[in-house]
Each structure stands twice: as structure tokens, then as C-alpha cells.
């Protein structure tokens, strides 16, 4: 069975199943073959699950009995921090070695109910802390488009799976850009919907006020299909959006886009990225969009705000890894030493750094200057975005300041953090944002266009992304 994985989309696969061109089992087998061929070289999957062919057969039956949906039989990869009952999950950390999920994340359950097939779990930066997957305790993932480069992160295994045709689509999580930045680095589409759209229940938490599951796909339409399936109120997530808010109707968009020029003066913005962005702006103008300058003075400080709030929440969330209830225990002379050894040896260097940072900004004497101030700034940044969205439908920037960098190139933590400079503001403001492929740089490496919309206006973000995708 010869299936062209390079041109497949969810709708095409669905139509092919429906016509009987090939079955879900044929498609899963094609991905398994491709994984066998490439996974050792790229280190994309930490594990391919054993039950995939059983699920493929079950999906095939749904086409026979007429209960198939758009996602029935669609093979997806999931990031190693998304729980799937009776399957291992580890956030690519040694501290969770041996952990098997005791329940399934609510968002994933919706995909499984629709007949989606989980091929396996993908490599990531430990606890989603990083922008390259180099912080995984299980080795770096290589970018399938240039294996000497990173696939982005923290959802780098998921972006590499889609870019390398080792899955038709993938799930990642995004706390500060961890879906959109890897999507830009691999020529794929990545989306972070309005915070609260997709349940957080069953993801291994990094920073709860920022975290969300989202899709990495080959097309904008595929991202839309996955979000439609996963979105919805979940009583197991205390910050889940009620359906009444999500189903509100809105005034139509005016095709007016804002560019925050100050963002383009960011230190370290590669000239080729700037040129590529200006070309994208030109193409959008040609397609009938009006472009205006907007100013977001406080939002330019989003990354500073983020590196206070995120480590603060992470240091609290990661308090649960005490070596008693799950994962890997390193026994000490007494309980305190067991905690300290388990955590000291189980967490990798970047995770330890963020726990220390978070502990620092929350500690007595620094709390007001750092954490309280950051929370105040966050409120002001949200307001600033809301005001700008009174005048424009959406705000566009490049997704990343550079194309995919070389493995080992960014050795100091701060320069790594800066690769999320354009994606972080959406998490801080909790607004929807997408990265869409925007051609390639002089080395043939993909770049992304980043589109941010007002809260609850995924429709606007998708409409612009769809238009831009067609301009290619």
C-alpha cells in the first residue's frame, strides 16, 4: 500500500477512508514503517504505543458501521506530558521514570471518542521548560528539515513528528510559545486558543495560568478540526470556559491588521526574518488587508513578566514531585533527605534553575518587587491588548526572531528564553494566536507568521491564517 504521507491532510485521509482507497490500518502501518525508518535518527518518539493497530481496526469498523467522524482513524502523536490512561507519560524527566498514567486527559479523551489514534508519545524539553528539546533527559530531537538543527521546543518531538511525516498531526502544550515556536521552526501550523478553551485536566502542569494543549498540523484547516474536537467546558478544569462564552456571536472582522513596530526593533531579530515578515505584510496588503501601526509599550516587557510568573507557578506545581507518590525515589537517611535527593537527582539542570528562580521571586523580601509587580503588569498588558483590539482585528509579528538554530548553539539560558519573545505575549494576555508557515530563509529553513487575535476570536485568527496560507 503506497500512501503519499507528504501531501496528506486530515480531510484527505478521511475522504480516502470513506471511499475505501485505504483503511485506518493501512495508514497507521505506513506511519509505523516511516517511524521505524527515521525515529532512531531524529529521536522524535519516546515510545510508540503497542495498541495502535487495535485502535486502527476499531476505527476501520466505524467506517463500516457508519459511526465514523472526521477524526476517526487519524493517527496523531502526543507530547510526553499529556496523560493517556494505562500508557507511560514522563514529561521527558527522569523524576517520572516508570510512571504510567492512571487517567486520560479530558482533551485527549475527546479525540479518542472521535476515533483518533494515538501513535505514541513525543520527546520534549523536560517539564516543557525550553525552546529546543535539548533539555529532555532522553536526548535532543533533530529537526527533520535539517538534522543539525533543533525542531524548536518545548513541543519539539511533536513538531518533528508532523514535519517528518511520522504522524498526520500532533498535540503539544504551549505555556510561552511551546507549540507555535516549534511549528515555525518546522514549517508546520501551531495554535494556542483563548486560555480556557481546551481543558488542562490531565496535562503535566508547568505554569497553570499559561498552559494549554493545542495542535501542531500541516494545514490551518487541520488545526481547526483538532481544536473544534478538543474545545469545550470541562468540570475537571477549574478555569475552563463555559459554553455560553464560547458560543457568543460576533461582529464580522474588518480585515484590519496591526503591526507593533517596536517588536521589530527587538535585539537579535535576524534581518532575513524581518525581510520575510515585511514580504508577508505586502502579500496580505495585496489580498485586501489594511495594515496599521499599533503600539503596545507594556507588552514589549511580556518576556520579563513571563520569566517571573512562569517559574513562580512552576516551582509550586513541581512541589508534587517528592518521590513518595509516583516516579523515581532516591532514598535518603530521613524523609527530608529523600525529598532533597529525589528532586536534586531527578530534575535536570534547567528544571532546577526554574525551581530556584520561582522560589526566589516568591520568597519573603522579593515577593512584592517581582511576583506582585509581574501580576500587576500582566493585568495592564491584558488591558493594553484589549484596547488595541478596539482598532484592529488582529496583530501580526514574526513567530520567532530567527529560523531554527543549530543544536548546541544557544548555551546560555537567557538567549534561549529570548527565542519566545514574540509568542509569550499571547500567553500573558491569554489570547488566541497561531503560527502559519511563511516561506523560507536563505538557507531554506522555514519561518512563521504569528497572528494574535482578541480573546474568544479564534474565528478571526483562523480566517486570516487561511487567507495567508492560500497566498503561498
Amino acid at each position: 500500500m503506497n500512501i503519499d504521507l507528504a501531501t496528506l491532510t486530515i480531510e484527505r485521509a478521511h475522504d480516502a477512508f470513506a471511499r475505501g482507497d485505504f483503511t485506518p490500518r493501512d495508514l497507521v502501518a505506513a506511519y509505523l514503517e516511516r517511524i521505524k525508518e527515521k525515529n532512531a535518527e531524529w529521536n522524535v518518539y519516546r515510545e510508540v504505543f503497542e495498541d495502535v493497530l487495535l485502535l486502527a481496526d476499531a476505527a476501520g469498523k466505524r467506517f463500516a458501521d457508519g459511526t465514523a467522524t472526521m477524526l476517526t482513524g487519524i493517527p496523531i502523536a502526543i507530547k510526553d506530558n499529556i496523560l493517556y490512561k494505562n500508557h507511560a507519560a514522563g514529561a521527558s524527566s527522569k523524576i517520572l521514570e516508570g510512571y504510567v498514567a492512571t487517567y486520560t486527559s479530558s482533551a485527549l479523551q475527546r479525540l479518542l471518542d472521535a476515533g483518533g489514534i494515538v501513535l505514541g508519545r513525543t520527546n520534549m524539553d523536560e517539564f516543557a521548560m525550553g525552546s529546543s528539546t535539548e533539555n529532555s533527559a532522553y536526548g535532543v530531537t533533530h529537526n527533520p528539515l535539517d538534522p543539525s538543527r533543533v525542531p524548536g521546543g518545548s513541543s519539539g518531538g511533536s513538531s518533528a513528528a508532523v514535519a517528518g511525516h511520522l504522524a498526520l498531526a500532533a498535540l503539544g502544550t504551549d505555556t510561552g510559545g511551546s507549540i507555535r515556536q516549534p511549528a515555525a521552526f518546522t514549517g508546520t501550523v501551531g495554535m494556542y486558543p483563548t486560555y480556557g478553551t481546551i481543558s488542562r485536566s490531565g496535562i503535566i502542569a508547568l505554569a497553570s495560568s499559561l498552559d494549554q494543549i493545542g495542535p501542531i498540523t500541516r494545514t490551518v484547516r487541520d488545526a481547526e478540526i483538532l481544536i473544534e474536537c478538543m474545545a469545550g467546558f470541562d468540570p475537571l478544569d477549574a478555569t475552563s470556559l463555559p459554553e455560553s462564552l464560547r458560543s457568543q456571536s460576533h461582529a464580522p472582522a474588518k480585515k484590519r491588521l496591526g503591526i507593533p513596530r517596536a517588536f521589530l526593533d527587538t535585539d537579535g531579530l535576524a534581518p532575513t526574518v524581518r525581510d520575510n515578515f515585511l514580504k508577508a505584510v505586502e502579500a496580505l496588503t495585496g489580498a485586501g488587508y489594511e495594515i496599521v501601526d499599533v503600539t503596545l509599550p507594556l507588552a514589549t516587557l511580556s518576556l520579563a513578566v513571563y520569566y517571573i510568573i512562569q517559574p513562580a507557578e512552576a516551582s509550586s506545581n513541581l512541589g508534587r514531585y517528592d518521590g513518595l507518590r509516583y516516579g523515581n525515589q532516591k532514598l535518603g537517611a530521613d524523609l527530608l533527605e529523600t525529598y532533597e535527593r529525589t528532586r536534586g537527582e531527578g530534575f535536570g539542570p534547567e528544571t532546577r534553575r526554574r525551581i530556584m528562580l520561582g522560589t526566589y521571586v516568591l520568597s519573603h523580601g522579593y515577593y512584592d518587587a517581582y511576583y506582585n509587580k509581574a501580576v500587576k503588569m500582566r493585568d495592564a498588558i491584558k488591558k493594553e491588548f484589549a484596547e488595541v483590539f478596539q482598532t484592529v482585528d488582529a496583530i501580526i509579528t514574526p513567530t520567532t526572531p530567527s529560523a531554527a538554530f543549530k543544536i548546541g548553539e544557544k548555551s546560555d539560558p537567557l538567549s534561549m528564553y529570548l527565542s519566545d519573545i514574540f509568542t509569550v505575549p499571547a500567553n500573558i494576555a491569554q489570547i488566541p494566536a497561531i503560527s502559519v508557515p511563511s516561506g523560507v530563509d536563505e538557507n531554506g529553513l522555514p519561518l512563521g507568521l504569528h497572528i494574535m487575535g482578541p480573546e474568544l476570536r479564534e474565528d478571526i485568527v483562523f480566517a486570516i491564517a487561511n487567507d495567508f496560507e492560500k497566498l503561498k
Binding site: 504510567v100 492512571t102 487517567y103 483563548t194 486560555y195 480556557g196 468540570p235 477549574a238 478555569t239 470556559l241 462564552l245 507594556l298 516587557l301 518576556l303 520579563a304 513578566v305 520569566y307 517571573i308 516551582s315 512541589g319 518521590g323 513518595l324 507518590r325 509516583y326 525515589q329 530521613d334 524523609l335 533527605e337 529523600t338 525529598y339 532533597e340 528532586r343 536534586g344 537527582e345 530534575f347 539542570p349 532546577r352 534553575r353 525551581i355 530556584m356 528562580l357 522560589t359 526566589y360 521571586v361 520568597s363 518587587a369 517581582y370 509587580k373 509581574a374 500587576k376 493585568d379 495592564a380 491584558k382 488591558k383 546560555d412 539560558p413 537567557l414 528564553y417 491569554q430 480573546e455
Partner: protein
């Protein structure tokens, strides 16, 4: 960041670190604190918090059948005994 300050933080965070790691962390955290410290240079007025989503707590009622997850959760623990997670003793009763 001075080493004693880093040591104190590591203790608060329950991390046992070697002297070398402590020194590395202390020196790598310094520029990060410098970067995030930018926010002290701007003054923002407190704006009323706009939150689309608020924490919503559900009724404190048991949702699962008693015992449905007991075995799976116990099996997650590194050590278990007689249906309990086994931990080290914390009270000295000599």
C-alpha cells in the same frame, strides 16, 4: 547571587545540589534576574483585573466509585504496604 543565598533557596526548594551546581546556578540566575528586573523600571497603575475565566470550584462530592483508582494509584508509588503508600517515619518516639 551569593552562594549562601543560593544554598538557602535550594534548601527551601528541597533540592540537594553539589557545590559546583550551586555555583553554576547562582551565576546563571544573576543575568536572568537582571533581565526580569526591567519591570521595576516601569510604573503601572493597578487596573481592574479582567478575567474571562475564574476559578470555579465544584461541589465536594465523590465522583468516582470507591476504590476505582486505589490499585492504580498505589501502584504508582515507589513503595506501598497493606494498601497504603509507605513513607519514612517522621516522629522520633525513642
Amino acid at each position: 547571587m551569593e552562594i549562601p543565598a543560593a544554598e538557602k533557596l535550594a534548601r527551601l526548594a528541597r533540592l540537594k545540589l553539589s557545590a559546583e551546581e550551586l555555583a553554576n546556578l547562582a551565576s546563571s540566575i544573576e543575568p536572568i534576574l537582571g533581565y526580569v528586573g526591567q519591570i521595576s523600571e516601569v510604573s503601572v497603575e493597578a487596573v481592574p483585573r479582567h478575567e474571562l475565566v475564574k476559578n470555579v470550584l465544584r461541589e465536594d462530592v465523590v465522583q468516582n466509585e470507591t476504590g476505582a483508582y486505589t490499585e492504580a494509584l498505589l501502584n504508582s508509588a515507589p513503595k506501598q504496604k497493606d494498601g497504603f503508600v509507605q513513607v519514612q517515619k517522621i516522629l522520633n518516639n525513642e
